[in-house]
Symmetry: C2
Subunit: 221 residues, 2 copies
DNA sequence: ATAAATTTTTAGACTAGCCTAAAAAATATA
DNA sequence: TATATTTTTTAGGCTAGTCTAAAAATTTAT
């Protein structure tokens, strides 16, 4: 009942793809996600099906069994806990941690994962704003809100824009506002709802309500 | 110029064995260390020789090339840094960390190793008292001393006994003094050189000079 | 509804790392 | 020094995971 790193990576990919699909996940989409060939996927899916980690009907798609899903969620839990560790404890920039976490996520000790979780103070979200599954595989899904709806002193991460005009995107770039940027609301002016925000713990800027209404934010809960 | 985990483990084993051998390391001893068969070792040694990580003369032994040695030392560095992390930050007992570090040592990011080293405060020794190679692969070898020679307020780890009589060993067992136990010298009485020590951060005990003269200690430097 | 295009699977082959059994070399013993 | 023992290597084969090329099934388009 132990799985190779490759098997774990397949399960993780199938899990992620199944979030965007109502039906089973296609062989081709897995191949794309794993950067491999469809024939290799067929082979591996056969193996995972034999281990009862996925269900597979030929030429239809693949779905995770409850066991397969719980393994996938455990890998994701570890991945996100390590990302949090790398950013919060080792001061890595948030956009450099994914590759490293891809390796750390396969370290198998349950005790390690749980002690790490405790050491980090049971974080709810990783540095990209993605929720960290708990030890039972439960994931809290939190909807994005507009930056304009974020309260004073709260923090969050930019996850999208509602206005995709060239002008707006240029404004964002000029002010170092990127997908993934961390936003802390320092103050809100009553008279026009403009916000004083701290971007990525560095630059303090004032954003008009016109701007804050058009930014999607993933809060840290 | 990237190596598999298996290759890394062979290099590590060859390095450790070469410390106890003046000549080249024998195929059989590697097989024993790696828990595999001699024929498998021959295969792998051939591969490592081709990669110029070891020198090999048929039927004579194996030695690491400078490149091979520096890779081995880097793995050992990572192993010991992670062990230190697990014990000091995650509160693992010192005798439970080896297996976990065996996995963590293969995570390949140089940035990770160096940031971890910094986060831990550049420790000189791991929880077992083994020296941690620096980023250039330099290892500080420190000779053991007698517990009786340890100064007040210093700490160290029990690495051996000079008196192996049944009576002495029983005394040690009764007082929770084991190989690897962490000893902190709380006080030394002038009149008989007896020591007040804290064992494994738990029990405070008085040890006579007769006892402390017969315990080898690896200091934290 | 039939042909064309796409997706998926099968067939056969490759590498890494391991194995057993047998051959070759080195070492120990008589 | 010749023989016996031990060590090491070779030969050939196995599994996991990958690949290419071709066949089979499905979907799309005419």
């Amino acid at each position: 009942m132990t799985n190779t790193q490759t098997e774990e990576n397949y399960l993780k990919a199938i899990y992620s793809l199944s979030l965007e699909e109502t039906k089973g996940v296609s062989t081709n989409s897995i191949a794309k996600a794993m950067d491999t060939k469809a024939s290799s996927v067929t082979d591996m899916v056969k193996k995972l099906a034999q281990k009862k980690l996925v269900d597979h009907i030929k030429y239809q798609g693949v779905t995770l069994t409850p066991t397969g899903q719980s393994i996938a969620l455990n890998i994701i839990r570890k991945h996100r806990l390590w990302e949090y560790f790398l950013v919060e404890k080792l001061d890595f920039p948030w956009d450099e941690v994914h590759e490293i976490a891809e390796q750390l996520e396969h370290v198998s000790s349950k005790a390690l994962t749980n002690r790490l979780d405790q050491f980090l103070g049971h974080p709810k979200k990783d540095p990209h704003g993605d929720p960290i599954p708990d030890v039972h595989g439960n994931v809290v899904i939190s909807k994005d809100i507009r930056l304009s709806d974020l309260a004073k002193a709260s923090t969050g991460i930019i996850t999208g824009v509602l206005d995709s005009s060239k002008a707006f995107l240029n404004f964002l770039a000029d002010n170092n506002l990127k997908l993934g940027s961390k936003i802390a609301v320092a103050d809100i002016y009553d008279f026009d709802q403009s916000m004083v925000v701290l971007i990525d713990e560095k630059e303090k800027t004032i954003l008009s309500n016109q701007v804050t209404k058009n930014l999607n934010i993933n809060t840290n809960d």
